[in-house]
């Protein structure tokens, strides 16, 4: 059962009660993601995500953080392509005081100058740390090159841009982009929806900017990029376009990706790791934004096996439409359905799922609907989709001591 209410300011409140749990999880999607910020501001969202927690309304930095901790809130926040996501999970009895604190953080952050400096430094540190995490770096660069700009704009930021940011520039971005009418609030677990909505209505009864978020998309980046690195492995990222989350063939492509890389018997794992022992980590997954989508693949291997790993991996993409069996489809569906049901047991996972659905599809799918759609895919429907949409456009990024030939 889905609860829905739209606040006077336009913010959509979505909820799904989960029986038998003592916790509640909630999250805000604020339209301030990396792609929505003006050119030259890459990384501003990362500063914002930190800075707004450094004091709000009557609470200074210390008092605000102590108040969050005293409620036992498990906090998380992150920067995505389209949103800053701010989430919390906690024991249900502390929900309303927690909502009050988060409303202060979003609507009345103090944004003091002296707190800007460490927020900016931590954003720079996050970028510097990527150099020691080639696996994450390769995928960030892959998204940047694969998606039409600005969709692939780094969600970690660019040091050059961050260095040029000032307190006033970032304050202006917050004013402009914290548009509640385009924000989504989702909640799952143990809560009273009427009480919650009354509280939210009172807390968010304020004017805000009504900026529209229409993006002008440019061309994607270059097809192959290599970064030299003297680490132990060559890290390979590969991505190819596919149907978006709102496409009629969405479930066919999800089943197809599961045939490719859903479980340990899926084709990629079998061919690359099990038969040839080329990699420890190898996998592909569906990566969907509202505006575009792809299948993103990662493999980490030794320099001397990098080319073979790349070749075998790419061959599996190209042959995916061939000889798909009923058993493969059955296993793909079993995996997708299990993941769905098990993620619905966790309040935090369900909250994220509700919010993402609403943003991507403008509605929330029920678990039964998703199960039914997965069930409707077949050998024929998946094969037909893949035959009509063969993979022939790849973006590749490598980090390591050797390049690969595309």
């Amino acid at each position: 059962m889905l609860n829905k209410h739209v606040l006077k300011n336009g913010m959509v409140i979505l909820g799904e009660p989960i029986e038998g749990v003592e916790s509640v999880a909630f999250g805000f999607l604020l339209p301030c993601g990396s792609a929505l910020l003006p050119s030259g501001h890459c990384g501003a969202a990362n500063i914002i995500e930190d800075w707004i927690f450094r004091g709000a309304d009557d609470l200074d930095n210390r008092a605000l953080n102590d108040a969050l901790d005293s409620l036992g809130i498990n906090r998380s926040s992150s920067v995505g392509t389209n949103h800053i996501s701010i989430a919390a999970a906690l024991q249900a009895e502390n929900l309303l005081p927690a909502i009050e604190l988060y409303a202060k953080i979003i609507t009345k952050p103090r944004l003091k100058d002296q707190q800007f400096i460490p927020a900016k430094q931590l954003a720079l540190d996050g970028i510097a740390a990527l150099e020691d995490d080639p696996r994450t770096k390769v995928m960030l660069n892959l998204y940047e090159n694969f998606y039409p700009a600005p969709l692939g704009t780094s969600t970690t930021g660019k040091a050059k841009d961050i260095n040029d940011l000032t307190e006033d520039k970032v304050r202006a971005l917050i004013d402009e982009h914290f548009n509640y009418s385009k924000s989504i609030f989702a909640i799952a677990g143990n809560y009273d929806f009427d009480k919650l909505c009354k509280k939210m209505e009172a807390l968010f009864d304020i004017e805000c900017n009504q900026k529209s978020n229409e993006l002008q998309l440019a061309q994607p980046g270059q097809k192959y990029t290599h970064f030299d690195n003297e680490g132990s492995q060559v890290h390979i990222g590969l991505m190819t376009p596919t149907a978006k989350p709102d496409d009629k063939d969405y479930y066919n492509i999800r089943t197809a990706v599961a045939v490719l890389s859903g479980g340990m018997s899926a084709r990629l794992f079998t061919e690359v790791r099990e038969k040839r022992g080329l990699c420890y980590a190898i996998g592909a997954r569906y990566h969907g934004l509202k505006q575009a989508a792809g299948i993103a693949c990662y493999a980490g291997t030794a320099a001397e096996t990098a080319q073979q790993t790349y070749d075998v991996t790419r061959e599996q993409f190209e042959k995916l439409h061939e000889n798909i069996t009923q058993e493969e489809i059955d296993r793909a569906k079993a995996g997708l359905k299990s993941q769905l049901i098990m993620s619905s047991e966790s309040t935090a996972a369900r909250t994220a799922g509700i919010a993402a659905d609403y943003y991507l599809l403008s509605r929330v799918r029920s678990l039964d609907e998703i199960k039914e759609k997965i069930e409707q895919t077949s050998v024929d429907s998946v094969t037909e989709y893949l035959k009509n949409n063969k993979f022939n456009d790849y973006t590749v990024v490598t980090i390591g001591s050797t390049k690969v030939e595309m």
């Binding site: 102590d66 460490p118 680490g231 492995q233 340990m264 899926a266 022992g277 359905k337 049901i341 047991e345």
Partner: protein, 407 residues
């Protein structure tokens, strides 16, 4: 929630926590086998063996094993630590029987030579992967630095030399002893039919032969050492401190884990305010590892090269301050609330309960329900936390650093 248990004649403990409201079920085989049970010659065998379990039996090929797992849609995997190897799966209740039967077959593996040779490459690739993850690698190296010759300092993944030279016979010998049924706990959590699972355990594991399995439990004062590894590919300072911590068997472990949270939770802790809030370090946190008969507390800090001396000074000041003045009641209350929230979230899914219930049995031979854990956390006093500071002396640490090569 209802707890069930039965010990088979061969010593296999079968336990379960039944929750009729759960939508899924989880099953795990918890084996008391880890790197602390290895000699230097076979370093990395427990973990390598974990990989080999997936390679099948006399009647199941590796591909058939993978297909059988995927037929159930299970979320399944295995992990190896210094003292346990756990094989687990979370499934919809209708698949629990299939997946349990499959695991029980796999725990009597064929360990074929050709699979062993191929999988060696995968292990070496895994080792290379961790070498490219200094935030992970530093914990492993710091553990060894702290534990010195104590077996808890043995590397889980082993060395290139030990893995390259390991023979399938050495692995078979290790397996035949450590995987005896009296050294294993079979655990269920969530929505399952106990009688059916019990029968399945008897039919599939009842013939396993028990053995005398030993583990030497020595507590350890801990070494105070400093070491570092410079790597050309690394740009930041990855610092790990290791100090004394209570064992799983120690009743003070709830107080000790709250001490760890006050000291180094990712937000709101002493580390957070002294190191991260002011951007001296990018990250600074504590993880506590209560082990069999001993324990270790790990602090991981990542910072720039120029901030490293100040970070170390700040850490020393934090330890001095807490040794002199202790923690505050406000800090303890916040740590308790955060722990209770995390516990509520973890306990909502059968997979979360599986790990807790399984480890409690493996280490303590005891079932503890959720309420018992909540009560144990709620009743910890500030005096208990502060007296642990003097007992554990977190300021007496071994420090390992991975950083870039000196210019």
């Amino acid at each position: 929630m209802e707890f069930k248990k039965e010990i088979l004649d061969n010593g296999l403990a079968v336990i379960g926590e039944f929750n009729p409201a759960a939508k899924s079920a989880a099953v795990g085989f918890f084996v008391r086998a880890g790197s602390r049970d290895e000699t230097p010659q076979i370093s990395g065998t427990s973990h390598f063996l974990e990989h080999m379990i997936f390679k099948g039996t006399e009647t199941l090929s590796p591909l058939e094993v993978n297909q059988a797992f995927d037929d159930t849609g299970a979320l399944f995997n295995a992990f190896t630590s210094e003292e346990t190897t756990v094989y687990y799966a979370a499934v919809l209740p209708e698949y629990l029987e299939d997946i349990t039967k499959l695991w029980s077959q796999l725990l009597r593996p064929s360990l074929r030579d050709e699979d062993f040779d191929l999988e060696k490459n995968v292990i070496l690739e895994e080792m290379a992967m961790y070498e490219d993850m200094p935030h992970w690698d530093v914990l492993d190296k710091a553990r060894t630095l702290y534990f010195q010759s104590h077996p808890c300092g043995n590397s889980v993944i082993g060395t290139r030399k030990s893995i390259t030279e390991l023979t399938s016979k050495q692995m078979r010998d290790y397996f035949s002893n450590r995987y005896a049924p009296n050294n294993i706990t079979l655990c269920f959590a969530g929505n399952f039919d106990w009688d059916k699972m019990m029968q399945l355990a008897k039919d599939n594991c009842g013939y396993w032969q028990s053995q005398t399995v030993e583990r030497h439990l020595l507590d350890y004062e801990g070494a105070v050492n400093t070491d570092k590894l410079e790597k050309q590919s690394v740009t930041r300072q990855h610092i790990c401190l290791v100090s004394r911590f209570v064992s799983m068997q120690d009743k003070k472990r709830y107080a000790a884990s709250l001490l760890g949270k006050i000291l180094g939770d990712s937000v709101g802790s002493r580390y957070f305010w002294a190191l991260v809030d002011n951007a001296l370090a990018e990250t600074a946190s504590v993880s506590c590892d209560s082990m069999d008969g001993t324990g270790a507390m790990f602090s991981y800090i990542r910072c720039s090269n120029e901030n490293e001396p100040k970070v170390i000074d700040t850490l020393r000041n934090i330890f001095k301050e807490i040794e002199s003045n202790g923690m505050t009641q406000v800090e303890l209350t916040a740590a308790k609330n955060k722990t209770l929230s995390a516990l509520a979230l973890k306990n909502e899914v059968p997979m979360g309960r599986l790990i807790t219930v399984g480890f409690n049995w493996l280490y303590l031979n005891e079932y503890r329900d959720i309420e018992a854990d909540i009560e144990a956390i709620k009743t910890v006093t500030l005096d208990e936390v502060n007296s642990l500071i003097n007992q554990l002396k977190p300021g007496n640490f071994s420090r390992f650093t991975i950083c870039g090569t000196a210019q």
